[in-house]
């Protein structure tokens, strides 16, 4: 029963969203700050790998929180599945 409602619904939403996308694949707009990263990344951070420059210098705060989240997952699993002594 649930199937017959949800499938047409999902199909309609998918079509709406896909038709709404006005992006050209392979030719993104708004490149000004991307240009900044590509041109100044080496001078600013000294890293050859620009992904690492973004990941570990420009947006390193994200990385810190991400590390905390991974710790949280381990702590949670330990909490759920530790054996009672």
């Amino acid at each position: 029963m649930k199937k017959y409602i949800s499938i047409p619904f999902l199909i309609i939403i998918t079509i709406i969203i896909i038709t709404s996308i006005g992006l050209e694949y392979g030719n993104p707009r708004n490149m000004e700050f991307v240009k900044y990263y590509l041109e100044q990344g080496l001078n600013d951070t000294g890293a050859m790998n620009l992904v690492a420059a973004v990941y570990l210098d420009y947006r390193v705060y994200d990385t810190l929180i991400e590390t905390v989240i991974l710790f949280m997952a381990v702590a949670g699993i330990t909490f759920f599945l530790q054996r009672r002594k």
């Binding site: 996308i21 006005g22 700050f33 210098d57 420009y58 947006r59 994200d62 989240i69 949670g76």
Partner: protein
Amino acid sequence: MKNHLPILIIILPLVFSFLILLFRKYAFYLSLTGIFVSLFFLLRLSSKILRGNRIIYHLGGWEGPIGINLVIDGLSFYFSFLVLCAGIFIVLYSLYEEKYSSTYYFFLLLSTSSMLGIIFTGDIFNMYIFYELLTISTYLMIAYLKKGESLKASFNYLIMGGVGLSFFLLGVGFLYALFGVLDISHIAERFLVIFSFNQQMVMVAFALILIGIGIKVAIFPLHGWLPDAHSLAPSSVSALLSGITVKIGIYCLIRLLYHIFCSEEYFFIRTGQIYLILGSITLLFGATMALAQIDLKRLLAFSTINQIGIIMIGFGIGTKAGFTGALFHILNHAILKISLFFCAGIIIKKTGSRLLQGLKGFGRREPLIVLSFTIASMGMIGIPSVNGFISKFIICSAAIEAGFPLIVVIIIIASVITAAYYFKIIALFFDLSETSAKITKPFGGKNASSRIIFGYWPVYVLTGISVFLGIFPKFGINLLEPAVKLILSNFIP
């Protein structure tokens, strides 16, 4: 040092939460210290913020859209103040509730820290990450007791929350594809240009973000996880979830949807109407469902959905009075709901029963707790002299001013239903027909008497605050004045 206060407010609870894991014996004191230090730092910023300034902190020294910025203005100050104050009460009450292990305090402090992170961040992707951290710690706290029901509730929330955050992330992706930046204020700056030639995609991004946050806030069709999760968690966690965590979702709605999507008036009018419709449905639905409940905490959880409806309506009206009422109602609802859940926790602990029928004759045994419960429920209903009345009144008068008389009727109907279900409970408290039919379980161990004050005093203090704010609402409204000014300044470009 003074320049670095914004980041220290977020980072110190985080550091303290990890210190808890290293020094497990002092978990309670460490968590209390963490929150107090953070609150102290926040209050040192208060004079600057309340004068209407905004503080921007560049993380890693990268300005603007290149790096991540922290932004503290009136709105974020108001919400972070709420979070930290509520955090103190919840930590204190946890000591009474049960002898929690250090892991519990770790989760509690980490969720506080992540809420502060969401509030202060000026970057939309960073907001997503902090939200994910918040929800992960929430899953763990809901399932803290490891009972079958609470595990199921936690799993349900995990599925719903995961889907919601995926929607949110997709919405962030749409925004990034359109604007090329992730910084909220920069997106808002470019909004008009982009919106003029890519209207449909901006609308879809708006819808995706609204669905994503709507799941977290439990707007009507997306509320499925809330009653289970809020009622099956330990009482202190229920208070945290109902009192503040839901408000964080509302904060994101304000921050994103009023900051980004309201730069054009045309678009704003429609968002306002969407909020009004969703809010009214949520309000009526929550009220009706709460009437049918027989479980005390489940009833309170549905009451949360009810009050969220009112807050949404307040934002939907979109005038100054509407915003004031909605923001003030956020504060009032946090105070009242935390107090109600603490009362419910004490009642469940004393009677050993979660069902309403088990409460018969409780009024004789704990008159003060029942009095606090009554005052808090009066606030929920909107009876004068308690703070809930003021905010409801402001919202209603704003609705009349803005020309939505139907909304006032809906709020009054919902208030009547609210009165019905709260008076049902209060009547049961004073129902003496079956007085003390059941002898309750003896409570606590030897050191129970020392911990008992931590259960009762937070309730009394919260009740006192709610009555105080009901008589002198100016103290609350002064606090949220800068926030309202900020929203209005964004709203009219």
